[in-house]
């Protein structure tokens, strides 16, 4: 892997963000909206319950939405990074250079980490400024939880990229669709037991469910459940292996069927 190529790809995507104001929506506007929305919902419903603590309820929701943004920003930055190449008909240019697939992925992920820092930083700052909620109250437990969400986000993006290679730009909506599907099933704001019974086995199969369960345990003062972290790690490993295998297979189909003609 050549570092100069990885850096070049990361810089290319920085230029795109710099010159496309609408791209700031994902990294600034949406995080602000989410923080205000879920913080306010938490405060209101918390204060309505008899003896309820509005700030505590807001804290649960805000922790959920901040961690959700780690997943969302990781997934969306990698998948839209690839989409940018299809939107600007740059795929053929890239495929005829020595750039390796892994170098391209590393470059977009590197820039994605920068976007993620901005997006999660924004939502965290708004939560702190408006609702006095510190995400750092999760302590060191944040490290494995964030790392796992990052990996899961990237794995979902690899699935999306594979689908775009296979079926074309019509699959782009799935970059947002998969996340929307995972959000209610993962129990971001509630335990899995709150889901309808039929959906609970599906939720248990998702690594995100165990990550958010782990986060709720820390917020409740029970400490980090290493069982939940262990299950999430195992499920994430399966997901990553599946995503990489799927992407490699779709890339082979893309080359075999000459689908580059869709992108020039």
């Amino acid at each position: 892997m050549r570092w100069v190529r990885v850096k070049a790809i990361a810089r290319r995507h920085w230029y795109v963000l710099l010159r496309a104001p609408q791209r700031w929506f994902d990294v600034v506007i949406w995080p602000v909206v989410d923080a205000v929305l879920f913080g306010s919902i938490g405060l209101y419903f918390g204060s309505q319950n008899s003896g309820g603590n509005g700030e505590e309820a807001a804290g649960f929701l805000l922790a959920g939405i901040i961690l959700f943004h780690v997943l969302f920003q990781a997934e969306i930055s990698l998948s839209t990074g690839f989409m940018e190449e299809t939107w600007s008909s740059n795929l053929l240019n890239l495929l005829t250079t020595p750039l390796r697939e892994v170098e391209y992925g590393a470059g977009v992920m590197l820039f994605g980490l920068f976007k993620l820092t901005m997006g999660v930083g924004t939502v965290s700052l708004v939560a702190l400024a408006l609702f006095a909620f510190r995400i750092t109250s999760l302590g060191l437990a944040l490290v494995p939880l964030v790392a796992l969400l990052l990996v899961v986000g990237w794995a979902i993006a690899l699935f999306v990229i594979g689908l775009i290679l296979r079926v074309g730009q019509g699959a782009e909506i799935l970059a947002w669709g998969f996340i929307a599907l995972i959000m209610p099933l993962s129990g971001i704001f509630y335990p899995v037991s709150a889901l309808p019974g039929a959906l609970q086995p599906l939720a248990e199969a998702l690594p995100t469910t165990h990550i958010f369960e782990g986060a709720r345990g820390v917020l409740a003062g029970d400490g980090l459940s290493w069982t939940e972290v262990g299950i999430a790690t195992a499920e994430s490993a399966v997901l990553v292996c599946g995503a990489v295998a799927f992407l490699v297979a779709m890339l082979a189909v893309f080359r075999k069927r000459g689908y580059i003609s869709r992108h020039v």
């Binding site: 050549r2 100069v4 190529r5 850096k7 070049a8 790809i9 810089r11 290319r12 230029y15 795109v16 710099l18 010159r19 496309a20 190449e85 939107w87 600007s88 008909s89 740059n90 053929l92 240019n93 890239l94 495929l95 005829t96 250079t97 020595p98 750039l99 390796r100 082979a252 080359r255 075999k256 069927r257 000459g258 580059i260 020039v264």
Partner: protein, 251 residues
């Protein structure tokens, strides 16, 4: 069939590509020697672009193999592409990048740590240094083509592959492209593989032509030899003859 001169920079044997019921390429073999200037010609649907894409590793052949500077595709595609430059008249420049940034990006993708000298040299070679700060989407099609060729030559490739480089260009810009390519090949010893529908351009630029029809190589030699092979006065007439044949027998 004429033999290429010099060590081959490109070797392909028995390339076959089938799309559902259409056999786009049917056993194409092609060798390009170092510094050789070759045109790949044929009517629309003859299999030129599919062949080019297989030579570049973008499309995988159903059968056959491709070797670039001794590197066999697809396993050594990255190493092979270090020796190849590609530009196409139909490819836009990515939006939201200035010409200088675009060229730096691709210089680095070709592995050059600081491509500034190569970028300046390339822009000067085609007399477009004034475009350095222009945004990619502000360029005319002629300027875009020139920038695309500069991009493809930053790393001094041993083989330059150009798909329809002068399509939709006015005669003046087309001549600048031809002159720039001629200088590049003379100075750097770069081999050229070009597709074009402009037979006059081909006769001026290339010393060897390979005609493809129905996915097969039907003639390979100097422009004069190929015209003589078909009993025609020039390449234009050969092209029209093959295009008529393709219409009569689309299979």
């Amino acid at each position: 069939m004429s033999e290429p001169t010099g060590d081959p920079v490109l070797r392909a044997e028995g390339l076959v590509k089938q799309y559902k019921r259409v056999r786009a390429v049917d056993g194409v073999a092609l060798t390009v020697g170092a510094g050789e200037r070759v045109a790949l010609l044929g009517p629309n649907g003859a299999g030129k672009t599919t062949t080019l894409m297989m030579l570049l590793g973008v499309i995988s052949p159903d059968r056959g193999w491709v070797e670039v500077c001794g590197h066999r595709l697809p396993h050594r595609r990255s190493e092979a592409m270090e020796h190849v430059g590609f530009a196409a008249g139909y490819l836009p420049l990515p939006e939201r990048l200035r010409v200088g940034e675009f060229l730096h990006l691709f210089g680095q993708l070709y592995g050059i740590l600081d491509p500034t000298p190569q970028v300046e040299l390339g822009l000067a070679r085609f007399n477009i240094t004034h475009l350095t700060s222009a945004m990619g989407n502000e360029l005319s099609s002629g300027q875009r083509t020139l920038v695309g060729i500069v991009k493809a030559t930053l790393h001094r490739p041993r083989l330059l592959v150009l798909d329809e480089p002068t399509a939709s260009l006015d005669p003046d810009v087309a001549r600048r492209v031809r002159n720039g390519l001629g200088r590049l090949c003379a100075e750097e010893g770069t081999a050229l593989l070009v597709t074009s529908h402009d037979m006059i351009e081909v006769e001026r630029l290339c010393e060897r032509v390979v005609f493809v029809a129905g996915g097969r190589v039907v003639a390979d030699g100097t422009p004069t030899d190929v015209a003589a092979h078909f009993g025609r006065a020039d390449l234009e007439e050969v092209f029209l003859h093959l295009a008529e044949q393709a219409l009569e027998d689309p299979t």
